[in-house]
């Protein structure tokens, strides 16, 4: 250990911050090794702790996934972005939505006439796949950790389902103009999609979410099958059924709300 210590004048200039950078770094290095000189440097404990906390906050921060970064760039609050992007299945659900809509767009460009029925039948159940993968013991590897928190259950399901629905609806909405149909018909999937999502959430109190999604998808296929059976598959997208889908969406959302807050 060196017997040399920082002279008073040098220390004063160091404390004033007027030393040349190279000299200041030399003093820093010496202070790191010499307890006597450190003791001679006055310091404010609170200031040091606050500085360390700031430094720690810079060094120890969350790692952001691509989907989380995209959400935050899109203006989603950081805590919400993390909730939505945490489970791998949610990201896959979103990816599946994008792939499905891209597939629809490609098909629409190539086989326009044959494509419309497929799109109208599949688009309403597209968000269900995402909702099924949004929350639950089978799809969330950390479900047991999550389940004991205040956000778990219907709150988390609703948050994620809304996000899935929003993405699916926006993407399907972007694909709609590609369809060879009047705007009204091209958007005829929207109310059935909302009703199906609300139905899935409403039933989720009694059934696991994936089963609820399958059940609702089955009901939708039965409705579409009815249209096919009566010889006019477009009938299930007509004005009267659309009112029915709208009313069903409102009632089922209300039902989910009641169950969630009971």
């Amino acid at each position: 250990m060196s017997s040399w210590h920082i002279p008073d004048g040098l220390r004063e200039r160091y404390l004033e911050g007027t030393l040349e950078p190279a000299l200041a770094m030399s003093v820093d290095a010496h202070l790191g090794r010499c307890a006597d000189c450190r003791a001679a440097v006055p310091h404010d404990k609170d200031w040091l702790e606050a500085s360390w906390a700031r430094l720690e906050a810079e060094l120890i921060t969350p790692h952001l996934s691509l989907s989380e970064r995209l959400l935050r760039h899109g203006g989603v609050p950081d805590h919400l972005a993390r909730l939505l992007s945490a489970t791998p299945t949610m990201s896959r659900a979103w990816l599946a939505s994008v792939v499905a809509v891209l597939a629809f767009a490609v098909l629409a460009a190539r086989k326009q006439a044959e494509f419309l029925p497929a799109f109208l039948i599949v688009a309403p159940v597209l968000p269900l796949a995402g909702i099924a993968l949004a929350y639950g013991p089978r799809v969330d590897p950390a479900y047991e950790l999550v389940a004991a928190t205040p956000m778990s259950g219907p709150r988390l399901l609703l948050t994620r389902a809304t996000a899935v629905l929003a993405v699916a609806v926006v993407l399907a909405g972007l694909a709609s103009p590609l369809l060879p149909a009047p705007p009204g018909l091209a958007a005829a999937w929207l109310l059935p999609a909302l009703a199906a999502a609300a139905g899935c959430l409403a039933v989720s109190g009694r059934l696991p979410v994936p089963i609820a999604a399958l059940a609702v998808a089955g009901v939708w296929l039965a409705i579409v099958g009815t249209g096919h059976f009566i010889g006019d598959w477009l009938a299930v997208f007509g004005p009267a059924p659309q009112i029915g889908y709208g009313v069903a969406a409102i009632l089922l959302t209300y039902r989910f709300y009641r169950v969630s807050t009971r």
Binding site: E56, I60, P62, H63, R82, A142, E144, L145, A148
Partner: protein, 278 residues
């Protein structure tokens, strides 16, 4: 204060909890029992992740059967499950941050400070940026414990918390849990009788969904008073015995010939109790 009355949980024909009555107060309570005794089921019911079939739980005046009160209770508890699970792509910081969000800590600055605090509590500050999949088993267990400490919960539920910890980490864990138990209710399950002896003021031994013993570790040890022996030869009878490190035979039950009596430990009392209950 937590009052459990006639709690029942069945899985098909199996009664995991069979009309359990228990009261839990401030301090560390250890649950001991063989596999299938109902420890994890009880802890899951307390943690509100599992609904019982019958009976009631009253925790701080809150009824977990009611959705609103259940949410209020979840704000006051920390839970380390037996199989916590994780997201391998997360870092240690990410995972605890995620649970902090689920615990409604939405203010980023406050939340991150809390995450750093609990990581420091379990000595994982240096691993904050490490991916969970790269952490050792002991580190993952400490990470799971860290998330349970978020928000300084009034009720801490720890299911097999010392699994995967090395002896030094176990000592640190005991010191941490003892300190936490000074001001809150801590209930933990374990197979390690030495953990119970070292840190629990109270021990509940469970078997077949019921509490067959409720007392201090000293009282549990006393169950085997006068029934623990050391001898140079193995006992001729079918008593429970094992060979010790110094080559003698430790027997529980009737005195073998030429055996010396030994002061019983918690494990002796526990084994004796299970033997009597069988």
């Amino acid at each position: 204060m937590i009052q459990i009355k006639q709690l029942t949980k069945t899985y098909g024909a199996k009664r995991a909890l069979d009309g359990l009555d228990l009261t839990l107060g401030t301090g560390v309570t250890g649950l001991l029992g063989p596999n299938g005794a109902g420890k994890t089921t009880l802890l899951r019911c307390l943690a509100t992740t599992l609904a019982p079939n019958g009976g009631s739980v009253d925790a701080f005046g809150l009824d977990p059967a009611d959705r609103v009160q259940r949410t209020a209770l979840r704000r006051r508890l920390g839970y380390l499950p037996q199989n916590p699970g994780s997201y391998p792509h997360f870092t240690a910081f990410d995972l605890v941050d995620y649970v902090a969000i689920l615990k409604e800590l939405t203010d980023r600055k406050h939340r991150h400070a809390e995450v750093r605090r609990v990581l420091a509590e379990v000595d994982l500050t240096d691993q904050a940026g490490t991916k969970v999949r790269k952490l050792s088993g002991g580190m993952r267990q400490r990470l799971a414990l860290a998330q349970a400490l978020l928000g300084e919960p009034d009720l801490l539920i720890l299911d097999e918390p010392t699994v995967g910890l090395d002896p030094e980490q176990r000592m640190t864990f005991r010191a941490l849990v003892s300190r936490l138990g000074e001001s809150r209710i801590v209930v933990l399950s374990t197979h390690q009788t030495e953990d119970v002896a070292a840190l629990c003021e109270r021990v509940v031994v469970m078997r077949d969904g019921r509490a067959i013993f409720d007392g201090t570790p000293g009282e549990l040890a006393a169950v085997a008073d006068g029934r623990v022996w050391l001898s140079d030869a193995p006992p001729a009878t079918s008593e429970l015995f094992w060979r010790t490190a110094d080559g003698r035979y430790r027997t529980l039950g009737a005195r073998p010939p030429a055996a010396d009596t030994v002061a019983p430990g918690v494990e002796d009392g526990y084994l004796m109790l299970l033997g009597e209950a069988a």
